[in-house]
Symmetry: C2
Subunit: 201 residues, 2 copies
DNA sequence: GCGTGTCGATCGATCGATCGATAGCATAGG
DNA sequence: CCTATGCTATCGATCGATCGATCGACACGC
């Protein structure tokens, strides 16, 4: 990717996250990227194409990281800890990507939305499988697995809306706290929690 | 409020929630409300005034309900249960209000945003105080109260994004599950949980 | 006749997108 | 070595459409 092309992507990410897709004009986008509005179209298709590219690349990275996190352990509690750590770190370190991904799905036209929703579903299936494995193994205590999964994911995604990377709390500490909260939420037994060094590593 | 005025409010609520403030045009709004775009201005000021009215009335109701929920008990755990129940029920039963309130704050001009943010802060202070009381009384176990409060609120607000009132899960059951999840998350001791009939009432 | 409601017509501004033109820079042909 | 050719990158000007908002006119009930 050319430097200017990268600046366009970055400008779009910032503006879409901050003002929303419909709230961002082509001219604002061009000004932020340091080019004319006409030059913009040398680096993108339509404005929507740009949004789709941002969302899919962000989601593909998330899906890849989730699958890698799960592959790093065969213990459900360890997998869960790795997933929470990865998810929270991603949302706290790259809040722009995740805010756009969460808020602007409705701005997409139906065909583009299908692709994005399919990616998001694939991501959530990773979590679903880990939770199901954990309950089958008896190391999680879930009254209502689907509800618990949604509650957990919403809780973890929330950091993108408030975490300040320049604040007193480090990314690692933040992730540690959330792993502990997730364990409580899902009823990880105390014995398992102690044994699972993977969780806090 | 006149019937037409109410239809305008309802149309705005639906469209702002579904397409966003900037994604909703005056003409769409008029069509949904069943009037001409000119007549719209008989019932509102600017488009932004309408958004502000929707957000403040929704938030004022939430603040009032929160203060009422807290007033109904002097036990921190009971207060917490009532808060969670109220919050989850509100978000599940009126997802349009809460989605607009959560997503469109950035669409407001600075003076209007101030009012809305002040209301939201007042709401969160109710939660903050209950959590602090609970920890002071030794019935909650919070490693990082501010972080726990945010995690809890994000978890509970999430229901507005996925709960289907026509689905198999009733509002009351949903709220029950979330009260239980909140108790786990905040480390409500088992003895307190059993004793607190208020929590599940 | 006067306040309340309603609307078609239209305002200036801005929207996303395209146009043709231009400048820079490579490489190939003589 | 020179210049012809073609490709990448850039922009001012401008397109038709739509934006939020306003106007004057008309209808109805008190």
């Amino acid at each position: 990717m050319t430097p200017t092309g990268e600046r366009v992507r970055q400008a779009a990410l910032e503006l879409f996250a901050e003002r929303g897709f419909h709230g961002t004009g082509i001219r604002q986008l061009a000004e932020r990227a340091g080019v004319s509005s006409a030059s913009l179209y040398h680096y993108m298709g339509t404005k929507e194409d740009l949004l789709v590219a941002l969302m899919t690349s962000s989601l593909e990275r998330l899906v890849g990281d989730a699958e890698a996190a799960v592959a790093g352990s065969d213990d459900p509690v360890g997998q869960l800890g790795a997933l929470v750590r990865m998810h929270v770190t991603a949302h706290a370190a790259r809040p722009l990507e995740t805010r756009v991904g969460d808020h602007e799905v409705e701005a997409l036209s139906p065909p583009a939305r299908e692709v994005v929703v399919a990616l998001r579903d694939r991501y959530e299936q990773v979590w679903q499988r880990v939770l199901a494995d954990g309950q089958a193994a008896g190391v999680l205590d879930l009254e209502h697995p689907a509800l618990a999964r949604r509650a957990l994911l919403e809780m973890c995604s929330g950091v993108a809306r408030w975490f300040d990377q320049a604040g007193p709390l480090s990314l690692a500490d933040l992730a540690d706290h959330y792993v502990a909260l997730a364990c409580r939420l899902l009823g990880v037994s105390r014995a398992t929690r102690r044994g699972g060094a993977v969780i806090s590593a």
